[in-house]
Assembly symmetry: D2
Homo-oligomer: 148 residues x 4
């Protein structure tokens, strides 16, 4: 997914930011975007980040994959169609076998933050069927993306 | 997915029938089940049918898979939460490389048909990357399921 | 949803065309966009069309709403993430109480049509709780949009 | 949604527990239930709880509605089709204008917990357009449901 250069100022400093149009059918019976849609947006940012830090390749090459260990969302503002959102993510910390991501979701219609979230991603060795250390390349690319 | 013995009379004669609870979040901003949800229910019945006629096994064994060529839905009645639906499917005809499925969706709250649909499933040889004939076992099992 | 000026040549002549990024999570266990997602895309185009022809306003003003009577999809090409699609719609005919829409879905990655569909939209008087004639304004705007 | 009497022992003590069949189309390209589906299941339990504690009625009567302030999920086990899950919820604490819910999701195929979650629900006065105290009836019913 190509990144948008015209990102909202709130998202400055996030290495990955996507621009996504809100679809009418993402609203639920309360007339607002359903809570699961926020996690879909976070996921889209996460997948882009995993591509950027080489985690998708690590899976293709060594069957070391990224597993979502846990995730959270703090809803700040109800979203409605029509709108366009920007969702950004960055890694806030890394440990031996995992790293923590932060998500920020902006409504362009409101010009304001709609939600904040987090996710913990764990490295998993699908051949050995157990958790494993973050691949070295992945760790290096995260460090570069984040300027650590 | 286990089949329910207490199926609605409209669904008599269908070899596959599933009972599914409607979830609140499947409603859209009009307060009715979104049209895509009807296709999700049809899909659940189709997958069960593909399991029953050996098509899922054919893919595991020979990489002959079932591809959805086209599908239709005629909406008869708006659905709302809370409700429980029953979705049934049967094959209405088969040709060399495909068969046609009929779907029927019943609202138990209304005791009435909510939608009818169709789907055409085509056999695809994933190794040769082209359409192929229906596997013999699949054809035989469809014939048995349908009492042709 | 703003329309994109750089639409695929296949979509020339369609009064409504949207550009939508494919999201990773729209793929199912076969690694392709799930069939329900095609109907979500069609719906997004339909809602934009209903806005353009005054049907959303008719509901706000007179409780004359647009109901999806039936819909179809012919899948031409499997879609995968990453990709961007364009989905366009036009009215192909209108009757007293309904009109028929055509949908066309293009994969920009493939530069080719991924799916074609249809939908029949019926006018519904929510106060009287029965089908009704298409509102005059709506009929006029459809005629204008389509150049009939 | 009717409650199931044969609930998994892990869910004993939860006043609300639903039994839901996993649908094939809820799996994503990794062949596991997508993370958003866990939040859909939590939502289904939450809506049932809101019905039970009178919050849906409070909205109909006084436009005091329940807003999801934040939610979390800790994924314990990947889920695949076919399976049936049970999702249960209870209130763990209540404050002036909000209460905290706990969710537990069990895979019947595995006979084990698949996920745990939380959600904070805030009372919102839609007429005054601001947060408000939990309606008295709601607070009383929660206290009864939880045996506080």
């Amino acid at each position: 997914m190509p990144q948008d250069d015209r990102i909202h100022p709130s998202l400055a400093g996030f290495p990955v930011a996507l621009t996504l149009p809100v679809q009418w059918g993402e609203m639920d019976a309360y007339g607002h975007l359903n809570n699961t849609v926020f996690f879909r947006y976070f996921e889209s940012a996460r997948v882009e980040y995993l591509a950027r830090c080489g985690f998708l390749e690590a899976y293709e090459r060594d069957r070391i994959g990224a597993i979502l260990h846990s995730t959270t969302c703090r809803f700040r503002r109800a979203l409605v169609y029509p709108d366009t959102v920007q969702v950004a993510t960055r890694a806030s910390s890394a440990e031996e076998d995992r790293f923590t991501m932060e998500y920020l979701l902006v409504s362009l219609a409101a010009g304001a933050i709609a939600a904040e979230g987090t996710g913990i991603v764990v490295a998993y060795d699908y051949r050995a069927d157990r958790k494993t250390a973050l691949p070295k390349d992945v760790r290096r690319l995260i460090t570069e993306l984040e300027g650590w």
